[in-house]
Subunit: 102 residues, 2 copies
DNA sequence: TCATCAATTAGACGTTCATCGAATTATCGA
DNA sequence: TCGATAATTCGATGAACGTCTAATTGATGA
């Protein structure tokens, strides 16, 4: 039992560690995640299509990669989709890198 | 001017950020780096060939990738090559991720 | 209901990548 | 000097990836 009120810490599998590293290795995805993390509110899909010079299909592909890696969560809002950065997963990734490679 | 005696902090270019992420995305390279980081002493090339089920050419390729990313430094010792983990670069990478995406 | 718009999926294309065997370079000991 | 050993480089191959266009799904408002 950990401290009451503390957010559950995330445990990452080897597979997820690879997925995260791969997700961060593409500059478009990195910028997308950076933007998502900078606002801590919902960010609609179309907002990002305006920022990054990519076609909808490509953006969709990248968002899926980020979601599969666990770095991003999505919520449907009618016709639209909102995205959120999963900061806990990123933190877990950083902690793991530090403990494995520090 | 920073504190006297403090190691110079490393500034990473966008390009190097990508190279590091990509270097960490391969499981063989990750394990190699992990091994290198666990010993803080020199590790000969042949030591690693014994641990990972890789042919010399492939190991050479991975070490080059890690060196290009800046995560590893090498020193020739006669017929052999010794490798060292560049912990300062890794630390800089973690700091940068935290400040960009935290 | 139907036309419109948001987003995803499917399929294709060119590039990058991990891996290997073979050839090459470099160093050491006999 | 010469054979043996360590490591790198070269060239090839098959898989994975980023990107695009076109087709599809899903939801909204007229």
């Amino acid at each position: 039992m950990t401290m009451a009120g503390a957010k559950q810490s995330v445990d990452l599998s080897e597979r997820q560690m690879q997925l995260i590293a791969k997700a961060l290795a593409d500059s478009n995805r990195y910028e997308i995640l950076k933007k998502l993390a900078s606002r801590d509110c919902a960010t609609p899909c179309s907002d990002m299509r305006a920022c990054f010079n990519i076609v909808p299909a490509t953006l969709s592909h990248h968002m899926k990669e980020l979601e599969t890696a666990g770095l991003v969560r999505s919520e449907k809002a009618g016709k639209f989709v909102n995205y959120f950065a999963e900061t806990r997963v990123l933190r877990a990734y950083l902690d793991r890198l530090k403990s494995d490679l520090g």
